[in-house]
C-alpha cells in the first residue's frame, strides 16, 4: 500500500547546518504518526516542508500523491495545520476566523455554516465563538486552531507540538479530540512532540528524530520492547565508579549516566537489585536509592541517543535557533 505521505531523501540545510538529513519516511493512510525528538531535532522543519512553507534544499516528498514543490496548491488543499505558535487573527472573533479560513480554502458557501458550527461543537467553543480572539485563553486558541484545521475536510492534519504550554486538563481534552478525529473522521494525523507521554498515548507509530534523522521508527509498544525488559535506576555516592564496577563484574551492557543517576536496562530486574546493592557496599559505595520500573519512551530515546530528551538546560528555543544550538553542543 502506498503511503499518504512519502518523503524521498528530504533535506533542509540552513546556513550550512543540516536541519533535516535525507529523510525517508512513509505515513500510512489513517494512522496517527508522531515525530518525537528534542527541540531543534528538525521536526518542525520537516513539517514545514511537507506543508509547503519551506522549500527543501534537496530531495522531495509527496503528500496525498502531490509533490510538495511542484504541486504546492494541491498539497495545501489536502492538508490542515496547527502550528506550534498561534497563527490566528486575534482582532477577529472565533467565528470570523473560521469563516475566513473556509473562504480561503474554497469551502462551498452553502456548507460553510453547518461545517463551522460542527467544528465549534467538536472543540466545545460554541458559546465563545462570537468573542474576539484576544479574549481567549491559550488553550481555547489552540482548540479553535484545531477546529479551523478541520473545516475543509483535510486528508492529513499536521499538529506541531499541539499541547505545548497548555495545562494538564486542556492537554487531556486535546488528546481526546485527536483520538476522536482518527476514529470518527479517518483523518491521517501527523504530530510532532517532545513529550514522551503524548507520543505514547496518541500515536500508532513513532519516528524518533534527532539531528535531522529518524533513528528509530515503530509502534510505541515495539519501541519499548527493543529495550528488552526493565529499567533499574540507582542513586549512589560514587556513580562513576559504581557504573564501571557494574559493567565489569556483572557484565551489564546497557548502562547510562544521567545527571549522576545510573540507569541500567536489563531483562529481569527483580533478581538484580540485591546484587547491585551488595556490589556497591563491598566497594564502599553508599546506595541512596534504587528502584525498578517498566520502560517508557524516555528510556527508548535514551537507548537510541545516549541522552535524555530534555538534557540541555537554559531557555527554550524554537526553530532555526534551536537547531543551531543543538548543532553546537553536538
Amino acid at each position: 500500500m502506498k503511503g499518504i505521505i512519502e518523503t524521498d531523501q528530504l533535506t533542509k540545510i540552513f546556513d550550512g547546518i543540516v536541519a533535516v538529513d535525507k529523510l525517508d519516511i512513509t505515513v500510512e493512510q489513517g494512522e496517527v504518526f508522531a515525530l518525537l525528538g528534542p527541540n531543534g531535532a528538525g521536526k518542525t522543519t520537516t513539517i514545514s516542508m511537507l506543508c509547503t512553507i519551506l522549500k527543501p534544499t534537496s530531495g522531495t516528498a509527496k503528500v496525498n500523491g502531490f509533490d510538495i514543490y511542484k504541486q504546492a496548491t494541491q498539497v495545501r488543499k489536502s492538508i490542515g495545520i496547527v502550528f506550534q505558535d498561534p497563527s490566528i487573527d486575534d482582532r477577529l472573533t472565533g467565528r470570523e476566523n473560521l469563516y475566513m479560513h473556509a473562504n480561503l480554502y474554497g469551502v462551498p458557501t452553502s456548507e460553510q455554516k453547518s461545517r463551522i458550527e460542527n467544528v465549534l461543537k467538536l472543540v466545545e467553543l460554541e458559546d465563545r465563538a462570537g468573542d474576539l480572539l484576544r479574549t481567549y485563553s491559550s488553550g481555547m486558541r489552540r482548540r479553535l486552531e484545531i477546529a479551523r484545521g478541520l473545516i475543509h475536510y483535510p486528508k492529513v492534519l499536521f499538529l506541531d507540538e499541539p499541547t505545548i504550554g497548555l495545562d494538564p486538563q486542556t492537554r487531556e481534552h486535546i488528546w481526546t479530540y485527536i483520538k476522536d478525529l482518527k476514529e470518527e473522521h479517518e483523518i491521517t494525523v501527523v504530530l510532532t512532540t517532545h513529550y514522551m507521554d503524548e507520543a505514547d498515548r496518541l500515536s500508532d507509530r513513532i519516528g524518533i528524530m534527532d539531528y535531522g534523522k529518524i533513528i528509530a521508527l515503530d509502534t510505541p509498544a515495539r519501541l519499548k520492547e527493543t529495550l528488552e525488559g526493565d529499567v533499574i535506576t540507582v542513586n549512589a555516592t560514587d556513580p562513576q565508579r559504581l557504573s564501571s564496577i557494574l559493567t565489569e563484574k556483572m557484565s551489564l551492557q546497557k548502562i547510562h549516566m544521567v545527571d549522576k543517576t545510573i540507569e541500567v536496562t536489563v531483562r529481569s530486574g527483580k533478581n538484580l537489585l540485591p546484587r547491585i546493592v551488595e556490589l556497591a557496599t563491598e566497594n564502599n559505595i553508599y546506595v541512596e536509592s534504587i528502584f525498578l520500573r517498566e520502560p517508557n519512551l524516555d528510556d527508548v530515546f535514551l537507548h537510541y541517543t545516549g541522552r535524555t530528551i530534555r538534557e540541555e538546560g537554559g531557555k527554550e528555543l524554537h526553530g532555526v535557533s534551536a537547531i543551531k544550538r543543538r548543532a553546537a553542543i553536538r
Binding site: I53, L54, R76, I88, R91, E96, N103, G106
Partner: protein
C-alpha cells in the same frame, strides 16, 4: 473563483481590522489637522502662492501626505502577521500568492483612502471650497495613488522581521517622498533650485499631488502636467510596484 474569494477574504480582513481600531482612526485625524491649521496658518505670513492661500495650496498636499504615510504604515500589518503567526495561515492556504498580495494590497489601500477621505472632509471645516462632485473625482485618484505606495510598504515589510527596523526604513522613504513631492511647497518655478526640480521628477507622489490639486483647486491652480499625464505616470508606478510586491510575496525560503 477560489482565487477571487481568497482575494475578497483578505481584503475584508484588512478593512475589518482597520475599522475596529478606533484609536488609529481618531488619531489619524490630528496629524493632518496640525499641518493644515498650524503649519498652514503659520506659513501664510511668508506669502501666498499665486492666487492661493497657503492653506489652500497645501490642502491637496496634506491629503497626499496622509495617503503616503498611511499606505507605508500598512506594511506593518505584514510584520504583525509574521510576529503573531497569522502569516503562516495565509501562506499555507491554497490561494495563489498573487491573490494574497492583491487582497492585502486592496484592503490596505481601502484603509488609506478612508483616511484620505477623513482629511478631505476636514478641508470643508477649514473653509476650502469642496463639493460632492469633487469628492467623487478625488476618490479614484486617491485609490490609484495608494496602490503603488501600499505596495512599497508591503514589499519592504516582506523583507523585514521586526517592527523597529520597519519604522526606521519607513521614515527613510516617507520623508523624502513627502518633501520632494510639492505637497508643502512648489517644486517647479524660477526660484526653485534645479536639483529639487530634477529629483521631484522621479517622485511618483509629485504626479499624484499635482492630480489632486488639479481636481480640488480647479481653475485657481496652474497644473504642472495635464491630468491624464499625471494619472498615466501614477498607473505605471502602480503596475511596477504591484509586480515587485507580488514577486516579493512569492518567495519561498
Amino acid at each position: 473563483m477560489t482565487e477571487l474569494r481568497g482575494f475578497y477574504t483578505l481584503w475584508l480582513r484588512e478593512v475589518k481590522r482597520y475599522l475596529r481600531d478606533r484609536v488609529r482612526i481618531v488619531s489619524s485625524f490630528f496629524q493632518p489637522l496640525l499641518w493644515l491649521a498650524i503649519f498652514g496658518s503659520g506659513i501664510r505670513f511668508s506669502g501666498a502662492i499665486g492666487e492661493l492661500t497657503t492653506q489652500q495650496y497645501i490642502f491637496p498636499g496634506i491629503i497626499g501626505q496622509t495617503l503616503l504615510f498611511t499606505s507605508m504604515f500598512m506594511g506593518i500589518s505584514v510584520i504583525w502577521d509574521k510576529e503573531f503567526g497569522f502569516m503562516k495561515e495565509i501562506l499555507v492556504a491554497p490561494v495563489s500568492r498573487v491573490s494574497v498580495f492583491l487582497g492585502k494590497m486592496f484592503g490596505d489601500s481601502t484603509d488609506a483612502v478612508i483616511q484620505g477621505t477623513i482629511v478631505f472632509l476636514l478641508g470643508t471645516l477649514l473653509g476650502i471650497k469642496l463639493n460632492v462632485f469633487i469628492f467623487f473625482e478625488v476618490l479614484p485618484v486617491m485609490l490609484l495613488i495608494t496602490f503603488g505606495l501600499v505596495s512599497i510598504g508591503l514589499t519592504i515589510a516582506s523583507f523585514i522581521e521586526n517592527l523597529e527596523s520597519f519604522g526606521v526604513v519607513q521614515s527613510f522613504i516617507n520623508l523624502p517622498l513627502f518633501f520632494l513631492s510639492g505637497a508643502l511647497f512648489p517644486v517647479r518655478g524660477a526660484s526653485i533650485p534645479g536639483w529639487l526640480e530634477l529629483v521631484s521628477n522621479f517622485n511618483p507622489l509629485t504626479y499624484g499631488v499635482d492630480a489632486l490639486r488639479t481636481i480640488i483647486l480647479g481653475e485657481a491652480w496652474q497644473p504642472l502636467y495635464p491630468l491624464y499625464y499625471n494619472l498615466f505616470v501614477v498607473c505605471c508606478f502602480d503596475a511596477v510596484m504591484i509586480v515587485i510586491g507580488t514577486l516579493a510575496f512569492s518567495r519561498r525560503k
